[in-house]
Amino acid sequence: MNSNEILSECNKIFIDQLDNDAIVLKRETTANDVEEWDSLTHIQLVVAVEKQFKVRFTTAEIQGFKNVGEMCDTIEKKLSSK
């Protein structure tokens, strides 16, 4: 799975979890750009992403994602080392 595919999967998850069809994720997107994405829903999103890709983030990763792109890169790295 390449990083574009990962981004589009993530987009689906965000739409589904946050119940908002209008969400369009880009690599630069941050929590500030998505209304429903706050510290509470962050965990909900992370857990849903983990379940979908069957990966597990570390605590530091969960706390440290600066934007969607970083999350996707981390997922890609974990998938390729599987």
Binding site: Q17, V47, F57, I62
Partner: protein
């Protein structure tokens, strides 16, 4: 149920749902739990309004008389101390064998302080077990080990709940054992947000909390209806014969033995057991009489229905004999077709799915926690006997030409007295569980009932038992009279168990309260009917007893009262 659905539920319309106010006092972050409780409550038709105290500020909150907690006036207050914080406290302060006592004192204090400000029920969350990382197995030999002290706290909390009716336990320890530590916790979440549980487990805990709230708000399950073949034993009695059904050590019999043990324990707790099976009755009853490995016997089953009619018709019949709500009944059947039929025709009846493998039946049913309860009285143990006696009476009534003759033949006796220490738990239980013959449906906890009982200036209370030649019904009627003014007694509560309908019990009860009113120089008795979804049967209660209406209030003139005919003698 997942968090997405919970979030979706939070946006739904809660109007018309039963309101319950819940406060959460915790030293960990509980936003997820709070959302989950409210979202799951929606599924159970509860509008659970939640107030969360500031994070880790229990002492501050409760010691402030002007705190929002007290203004909020919660029906239930969760007191939820976290296991990691407990552990930190233990090691940081160099605690040993005195730890549990100190912690228990703290719980006592919290309950005392809050109770001195408001009236609320406490739901105290206990602590999960864990291996002792310092002493290892040797912790069992050391009174001052953390694991010993945690177990002591859990026992101490149960003791507290037994001595203080306002306190109950949320068994987190049991829940965490059921789902496992790996599933229950998410260290990353804990470190990032200070929430104790994984999101998935948060939902399980919330479900449990809501079930407990449900039990207190008056909707508990009272009757377990069991299919027989491949539900209570393996195989088909009609085809396989008595020797070949699987129960005990034969085949997968152990799984069925365990289900029977569970059913029996429920019966001893007061849940009524019934059988609903497609079988010839003679075949169906044979194992109950003759099979040495059967745990359940004929005596345990209040209503036994084995025939070839539709199960939903049979369940309706069982309902009519027992005279309880369909929504208090649970039906267990291994056959998906039967389950679906019953669900379709009787949507109020709870019909759990069953796993494929009988070995998984009981663990699965246990995980559903269907039979939550908020009370247990001595009388519960005998409930099946009560209903069996009722079946006998039904038979007898057919042999009398007139109802009057039949009633006379019963030799009914009632004991009437104010509430006392022995009857208070049962009275509270009746106020919480009775839905049909209940004029105002005011729910009281044991604490409330105690308060009313001793408040002689304002209230007078009556409990009524009923016995006849077939058996003892126990305490079946409750009246609470409020002294409104010097002339008027207001009927705050009038409840009667439906199993004594049509026995002239209402007339007997009225005679008793009028007698009291007249003796104490009250001029009138005032009644009120508050309609609910379930108490339609008493809509005309006061009218039928000769009260006259005045703006929704029903008035009875004491001076002109003529004693009603009834066939019950005061003991």
């Amino acid at each position: 149920m997942d968090f997405k659905q919970i979030k979706a539920n939070l946006k739904k319309d809660f109007t018309g749902l039963k309101k319950v106010k819940v406060a959460i006092l915790a030293d960990s972050s509980t936003q997820y739990l709070a959302q989950a409780i409210r979202g799951i409550g929606y599924e159970k038709k509860l509008d659970i309004e939640i107030w969360e105290a500031e994070y880790d500020a229990i002492d501050l909150t409760i010691s402030d008389a002007s705190s929002e907690l007290y203004a909020f006036k919660p029906d239930f207050t969760f007191v939820f101390l976290s296991s990691p914080k407990l552990q930190k406290k233990f090691y940081k302060n160099g605690y040993g064998s005195d730890f549990a006592d100190d912690i228990l004192k703290y719980y006592n204090k919290v309950a005392e302080v809050i109770s001195s400000n408001i009236k609320t029920n406490f739901l105290v969350v206990n602590f999960p077990d864990k291996l002792d990382s310092v002493f290892g197995h040797y912790a069992g030999k050391v009174n001052g080990s953390f694991s010993y002290q945690v177990k002591k706290i859990n026992i101490g909390l149960m003791d507290l709940a037994q001595s203080n009716a306002a306190i109950s336990i949320i068994d987190l320890c049991g829940l965490q054992a059921m789902y496992g530590n790996a599933y229950a916790t998410d260290t990353r979440l804990y470190i990032s947000t200070d929430a104790l549980f994984s999101l998935d487990f948060t939902i399980k805990v919330a479900e449990n909390c809501v079930q407990v709230l449900e039990a207190y708000t008056g909707s508990s399950k009272k009757c377990l209806i069991l299919d027989l073949d491949n539900t209570l034993w393996g195989g088909i009695i009609g085809d396989d014969g008595l020797e070949n059904i699987q129960i005990g050590d034969l085949g997968v019999g152990k799984a069925f033995t365990e289900i029977q043990l569970w059913a029996k324990a429920l019966k001893d707790r007061g849940v009524i057991l019934a059988v609903c099976s497609k079988n010839d009755e003679i075949n169906a009853k044979e194992p109950f009489d003759k099979h040495p490995d059967m745990v359940l016997h004929n005596d345990d089953i209040a209503v036994f229905v084995a025939n070839w009619s539709n199960k939903h018709d049979n369940i309706r019949y069982i309902q009519s004999v027992l005279n309880i709500g369909l929504d208090s009944m649970v039906f267990i059947d291994d056959n998906a077709f039967e389950r679906n039929m019953v669900r379709q025709f009787l949507p109020e009846v709870l019909v759990p799915e069953l796993p494929e493998d009988p070995a998984d039946y009981l663990p699965y049913l246990n995980s559903l926690n269907i039979f939550e309860t908020n009370a247990y009285t001595e009388e519960d143990k005998d409930r099946t006997q009560l209903y069996k006696a009722e079946a006998l009476r039904n038979d007898a009534s057919r042999s009398y030409t007139s109802e009057l003759e039949f009633l006379k033949s019963l030799d009914m006796i009632s004991e009437v007295k104010p509430f006392d220490a022995f009857t208070i738990p049962r009275v509270a239980q009746l106020t919480q569980r009775s839905n049909q013959f209940n004029l105002r449906t005011v729910r009281y906890t044991e604490e409330d009932v105690k308060r009313i009982t001793v408040d002689n200036n304002k209230y007078h209370t009556f409990s009524f038992t009923l016995a006849d030649k077939y058996g003892n019904h126990g305490l079946i009627g409750v009246i609470i009279l409020e002294k409104k003014d010097e002339q008027t007694l207001f009927v705050d509560t009038w409840i009667m168990s439906c199993r004594v309908l049509k026995r002239t019990m209402e007339q007997f009860m009225l005679n008793e309260i009028v007698q009291y009113a007249s003796k104490h120089k009250f001029k009138q008795i005032e009644g009120e009917y508050i309609e609910t979804r379930k108490n339609g049967m008493v809509r005309d209660h006061y009218k039928n007893l000769g009260f006259t209406t005045n703006d929704g209030r029903w008035i009875l003139d004491v001076a002109n009262y003529e004693t009603k005919t009834c066939y019950i003698t005061n003991a």
